[in-house]
């Protein structure tokens, strides 16, 4: 298995393949700023929750690295995970009925973590397989296992994401594109574990 490309979005900045692309340390609204810098026209972006916004930015940057020879419409699998599910929006939705006495449908539709992958599929017209896992922490071994299971059944490319938006303010989105190859699963695991540590400055 091979890591074709990776991106990382957090409040401090947006990175592509390890390089800082947009520095947002001084920005009041880092995601809006980054979206504007991308120069992409997709007004739906403004309606999205934090998770979807981060995934949108991270994916836009990875697009040039998708192999053109593959049928991404059907054979691209999306494997996403996080620890806090849709917690950030969940708590906003609770406030909408407990504090404002008006349950908000536009918040409610984002109270599922897999809306993120849905938004990506809508944006890029991807009809492939999706799965969203809730995990205690980023676990490279699990992603590699899930991706391999997907390749075993005929998917040819896998977009993986660790995407977190906690009510405490912690936000990050680490995306990576996996393709089958001769590299061992263990070396891919080590690479992914190292990458996320570097991005997190650990």
């Amino acid at each position: 298995m091979r890591v074709l490309a990776h991106s990382y979005v957090c409040p401090n900045g947006t990175f592509l393949n390890g390089k800082l692309i947009f520095d947002t340390k001084a920005e009041e609204n880092p995601l809006k700023f980054t979206y504007q810098q991308l120069g992409t026209e997709y007004p739906k972006f403004y309606k999205m929750d934090v998770l979807s916004k981060m995934a949108f930015i991270g994916t836009e940057l990875l697009l040039p690295f998708f192999p053109e020879s593959l049928d991404t419409e059907n054979d691209l699998q999306l494997l996403f995970a996080n620890a806090s599910s849709s917690q950030h929006t969940d708590n906003q939705f609770v406030d909408s009925y407990e504090k404002l006495h008006n349950p908000s449908p536009s918040l409610f539709v984002y109270t599922l973590p897999n809306i993120v992958t849905g938004e990506l599929c809508i944006r890029y017209k991807w009809y492939g397989e999706n799965c969203f896992f809730i995990e205690k922490q980023f676990n490279a071994k699990n992603y590699v296992e899930w991706a391999q299971m997907g390749f075993n059944k005929g998917n040819t490319l896998c977009l993986c994401g660790w995407i977190e938006a906690k009510t405490t303010g912690e936000q990050e989105c680490f995306l990576f594109l996996l393709s089958p190859s001769r590299e061992t699963q263990t070396s891919t695991e080590t690479e992914l574990s190292t990458l996320i540590k570097q991005y997190r400055n650990e």
Partner: protein, 358 residues
């Protein structure tokens, strides 16, 4: 698929009871778990709900414990260490908000299966079907010998108010595929199946293959063409080496919202499945979200064992643009091969095929 994968039911806890016999009886008699629940909706409105009234507090944790305690079988793999647990749930325990809603899930599973790795899948209403598909993938990759798949969601203010805000709830017990349907009815339950390499009990059937597909259309509305469901069904046919003519029964999703059921009818028409006997079980269980795929798979296995087709409770007059073969009366008939489908928010669609051995 070169290797055999088996699936069998271990436990189900719903408003209809805690044993397969109780559920068989309810399905034979057309008894629904749905009742009007006073003051259960927003601003004390009344809602029809399929609620397990025996539970009075901590609904999610109680339901999960009840489901696990209800397992009637000793699992050999539990000691051998080659067993994993996958939990399918859309929301976990919402009482835990603003903190982690899934923390109690892991703690409770660990009390019953201390050695087993626990994976949680939260992918809206298709979670149950993709959890079974993932379990089979793990067996085929030789990572585990057995995977216990638990589907669970509990009734909550959060989800009720949310569906109310979308005007997606029916004013009476939901009527899947019926002309007068006007929304779904929420339910709760816990269902557990065992997916294994070896046949472990007499009621195990073969899992022949499965897949998912996204509609790429809208985050909270189904595709008008059924594109995602069509692609998932076609992919599942390809993976299982089976086709529409092999299907004896379809356990459809059938939420009873106007748009969902219409979408499914178009998708079944496009895949030449419109003549296959079909039901939605939402009229019995309500929509149990993360548990739906598991509970409906369990009752599909019961259909296969009993060679019985259960009626689509709540249906009387066709109200979809592609007429389907909706089961209206209890019918004895050989049920060898079953297609289970699910569709949900986020554009997800999933399917799997079960078949009797031999």
């Amino acid at each position: 698929m070169n290797k055999s994968v088996y699936i069998q039911y271990l436990s189900l806890v719903t408003p209809l009871g805690t044993t397969v016999e109780q559920h068989l009886e309810a399905f034979r008699n057309g008894s629904s778990g749905i009742r009007i629940a006073e003051k259960s909706g927003f601003q004390d409105s009344s809602l029809p709900l399929a609620k397990r009234t025996e539970i009075t507090s901590n609904r999610y944790d109680s339901l999960l414990r009840e489901g696990l305690e209800n397992i009637q079988m000793t699992l050999p793999g539990n000691t051998a260490g080659k067993i994993a647990v996958i939990v399918s749930s859309t929301k976990g325990n919402l009482d835990l908000l603003p903190e982690d809603a899934f923390s109690s899930t892991r703690t409770i599973i660990r009390q019953f299966f201390p050695e087993a790795p626990v994976f949680i899948i939260s992918n809206a209403c298709i979670s149950g079907v993709i959890a079974i598909n993932t379990a089979a993938d793990y067996l085929l990759a030789d990572t585990y010998d057995q995977v216990l798949v638990t589907g669970i969601d509990a009734i909550s203010e959060f989800v009720s108010y949310g569906f109310q805000s979308l005007f997606a709830l029916s004013s009476e017990a939901c009527k899947p595929f019926d002309k007068s349907r006007n929304g779904t009815t929420l339910g709760e339950g816990c269902g557990i199946v065992l997916v294994s390499k070896e046949k472990m009990l007499n009621h195990a059937v073969l899992y022949k293959g499965g897949s998912s597909s996204n509609d790429a259309n809208h985050i909270s509305g189904p595709s008008r063409t059924g594109e995602g469901l069509v692609r998932s069904i076609e992919r599942t046919f390809k993976r299982s080496g089976l086709s529409a003519s092999d299907i004896d029964f379809i356990s459809a999703h059938g939420t009873a919202t106007v748009f969902n059921d219409e979408m499914e009818s178009i998708a079944f028409g496009r895949t030449q499945l419109d003549r296959a006997p079909l039901n939605s079980m939402k009229g019995y269980f309500g929509h149990t979200l993360g548990a739906a795929g598991i509970l409906e798979t369990i009752m599909s296995i019961v259909s296969m064992e009993q060679n019985l087709l259960f009626p689509n409770l709540g249906f009387s007059e066709t109200g979809i643009s592609v007429p389907l073969n909706i089961i209206q009366h209890l019918e004895s008939r050989e049920v060898k091969t079953v297609l289970k489908t699910a569709s949900g928010f986020g554009g997800g669609n999933a399917s799997l095929i079960l078949q009797k051995e031999g």
